[in-house]
């Protein structure tokens, strides 16, 4: 399945969610489940982790893997269904609380109309779900040029945020 980054550029493929990635995806030569990550690696295996990605379901508990995140190459967050918006918060928390600096990939069931939300919540790229086309996602990324909120979790600043950057208030 095609992977698009947040600029709408194609970025390799995710082959049936296999573990091995050739060519590497955002630096990850393998993408493993949460269970496999904990079984095969210690958080101190930083060299290996630098080439590893982990694929997380909505039910995986991040705090279980806290020690790994600063060293992992990428994290894939799988949407169980588009209505379940937990991965949006997971992405924000990954960046803020778990010092994760690598790429965050969205996979699973989501809609083209969520593409901008994904990138603004801090995702780096997404695996285009089978029932949609890359073209639909690319045009969805261009649907808005403005937003009311600052980009979250280190999201690329593709959009102008409304009005001035915040300053302290003494309202009333």
């Amino acid at each position: 399945m095609i992977i698009l980054d947040t600029k709408g550029q194609a970025h390799g493929e995710r082959r049936g969610f296999s573990e091995q990635q050739e060519p590497p995806l955002f630096g990850a030569t393998a993408i493993v489940s949460a269970a496999a990550l904990k079984e095969r690696f210690a958080p101190t295996d930083t060299d290996s982790l630098a080439h590893t990605g982990v694929s997380l379901t909505v039910d995986d508990d991040l705090s279980d893997m806290a020690g790994y995140f600063p060293h992992l190459a990428m994290v894939e967050l799988v949407f169980s269904q588009f209505k379940d918006g937990r991965p949006f918060s997971t992405a924000v928390v990954l960046r803020r609380d778990f010092e994760f600096k690598g790429a965050i990939l969205a996979a699973g069931d989501f809609l083209p109309d969520q593409a901008l939300f994904l990138l603004r919540a801090g995702f780096s790229a997404f695996v285009v779900p089978e029932q949609f086309t890359a073209k639909q996602f690319k045009s969805a990324l261009l649907a808005y040029s403005v937003a009311y909120q600052p980009g979250l979790g280190g999201a690329p600043d593709l959009l102008k945020t409304l009005r001035d950057p915040p300053t302290a208030v003494a309202a009333g």
Binding site: G85, R86, L111, A143, Y144, S145, K160, P166
Partner: protein, 551 residues
């Protein structure tokens, strides 16, 4: 009134263009109904029993006269000549063609109106005190803060796919005309001992299957931190709210299962982690918005009341209307006038295009061009000179909108029920009409005094029946429409959930039951005692005995 600047407009225009494209794809068959459904719902477009229904937001219940005229135009051009004001400060158009919806949204956008987030599991239209900016008992204008919350919550990247819908209400007055404790988050504007402006934060109120009055989880939140705190609360909810059972997905269930103290701790912990500057409310932005809501100078007129007294001497109907349908304004010599959308035997909340146009004209003439929409399904003209009340009343009377029943027994809140809604168990509107006809006599209504009847066609409680002095809930018992009666709800500062009185009634039976409840009250009340006060003093038993021993 808040008016959109170029940035607000850009976003709105892009939204309209996006939906036009989606509708085109749906009509061309490129999108299945399944794929289209979430997209149309994000634009407030429902498929009801007979047709598409478009729900348009009235932002925090405030409308300009031009916006009202646009509703009239839409009712006339795309619908059957009327609109329905809902129990959530929205308007619904019930007979819409799918192909027209992009044009409707475009027309609305010309006057800064939209249907964004009027459905779906996102942060909905913010509710505010309908008397905002006019009420004498107000500490600060809740619309300023509602607009800030509107902006922050519009197309929020993280909080548009929550476990369930999310409703925020703001009041700046002690009287609480926005029923904030029945919302997912209720915000009451307060000052602390140092005189700083801030909020009391209530979380986890709601109606539906499991009603709750929201507990207070933050006694004082500095105003500048409002978005940071909302962000924290919403993140806790988005991550931990239940998604396995639609009936347990609202934040009230999370707050109840964790306990208010634990929930509050979780939010505080998240709040502390957030960069205090990132979402700090910008002082300049607050002032920009505040300026737009500021009232022009209104000259106090302390003699006006005497003139009105004279006019009322001449006209008993005028007196009755002034007694029930007007409230004290913060400027002496001005009044807040309620335009009742509950004519005897009418459909609660319905207004024709002609009525909307006339109300818009009257707002221009008598109320600085401003109109409010209440969750009790009435309209309000917030800034009327006391001296103009007789003229306003006469003009409203000509279009059948001068019923002197605000807050009385025929000022019934009713959801659309079985006549429109696919989820309904029972009819609400015909029941409201029958009760209204039964108590049509205005003298009798005024004799009964303040009494709040609320009807929901199913447990989703869109008719707020839990919070009615008398609540009526449509239930389905083995294929038969029945109505359950609750007594003792309150939707104000002393929010309370009504208690079920006993087994349900059929349609004729429930009318008789309401009559009996009211007769029981009239028998027991002491001089000047309202229905609620009598109920509180005597408890439910006398009502129960009367109903179930005599029916």
């Amino acid at each position: 009134m808040y008016t959109y600047d170029t940035l607000d407009k850009a976003l709105l225009n892009q939204r309209v263009a996006e939906f036009r494209e989606q509708v085109k794809r749906r009509i061309a068959g490129e999108l299945t109904e399944d794929q289209f459904k979430p997209l149309r719902l994000m634009n407030g477009l429902y498929l009801q029993t007979h047709a598409y229904m478009l729900r348009v937001a009235v932002p925090y219940g405030t409308l300009s006269s031009d916006q009202m005229r646009k509703f009239a135009y839409i009712a006339r051009t795309y619908d059957r000549g009327y609109g329905h004001f809902t129990t959530r400060q929205n308007i619904q158009f019930n007979w819409i063609e799918l192909g027209s919806t992009p044009d409707i949204l475009y027309d609305l956008s010309e006057v800064d109106l939209h249907a964004i987030q009027t459905s779906g599991n996102c942060i909905r239209n913010v509710t505010a005190d309908p008397f905002a900016g006019a009420a004498a008992d107000e500490l600060d204008d809740p619309r300023v803060w509602s607009e800030i919350i509107r902006q922050w919550s519009t197309l929020h990247p993280e909080f548009s796919f929550l476990p369930r819908k999310f409703k925020i209400a703001v009041t700046g007055a002690d009287a609480d005309r926005a029923a904030i404790k029945f919302h997912d988050i209720g915000l009451k504007i307060v000052r602390n001992d140092a005189g700083d402006l801030g909020f009391q934060v209530f979380v986890g109120g709601g109606q539906g299957r499991t009603p709750f009055v929201a507990p207070l989880i933050r006694p004082f939140l500095p105003a500048k931190d409002i978005l940071r705190y909302l962000d924290a609360a919403l993140r806790v909810y988005n991550q931990h709210g239940r998604r396995d059972n639609i009936y347990k997905a609202r934040i009230k269930i999370l707050v109840d299962s964790l306990g208010a103290d634990q929930f509050s701790l979780d939010v505080e912990r998240e709040f502390e982690k957030l960069d205090p500057d990132l979402l700090a409310v910008n002082e300049k932005e607050v002032e920009r918005i505040r300026d737009m809501f500021a009232l022009p100078y209104l000259r106090p007129d302390t003699d006006a009341q005497a003139g009105l007294e004279q006019a009322m001497e001449q006209s008993n109907p005028l007196r009755r209307w002034c007694e029930t349908n007007t409230e004290v304004h913060k400027v002496p010599g001005y009044a807040i006038a309620t335009v009742s959308l509950k004519p005897v035997g009418g459909i609660p909340g319905d207004a024709t295009a002609d009525q909307m146009d006339t109300v818009a004209d009257l707002a221009d003439r008598y109320s600085l061009g401003e109109i409010r929409v209440t969750y009790t399904q009435n309209l309000v003209l917030p800034h009327v000179r006391v001296a103009d009340l007789p003229l306003l009343w006469a003009a409203l009377d000509q279009i059948s909108l001068a019923t002197a029943n605000a807050g009385l027994v025929t000022d019934i809140i009713a959801c659309p029920g079985l006549d429109y809604c696919t989820l309904a168990n029972a009819r609400s509107i015909p029941l409201a009409q029958r009760i209204s006809e039964r108590f049509a006599d205005l003298d009798a209504q005024h004799n009964i005094g303040p009494l709040d009847i609320r009807i929901s066609g199913c447990i989703n409680a869109c008719g707020h029946h839990h919070a009615g002095h008398i609540g009526i809930l449509g239930v389905d018992k083995k294929g038969v429409e029945l109505y359950q009666l609750t007594l003792g709800g309150q939707g104000n500062r002393d929010s309370a959930i009504g208690k079920i009185l006993g087994p349900g009634f059929d349609e004729d039976g429930i009318i008789g039951a309401v009559e009996n409840v009211i007769a029981t009250y009239l028998n027991m009340r002491t001089i000047g005692e309202t229905f609620s006060e009598t109920l509180q003093r005597k408890g439910h038993s006398p009502f129960k005995e009367r109903l179930y021993d005599h029916t």
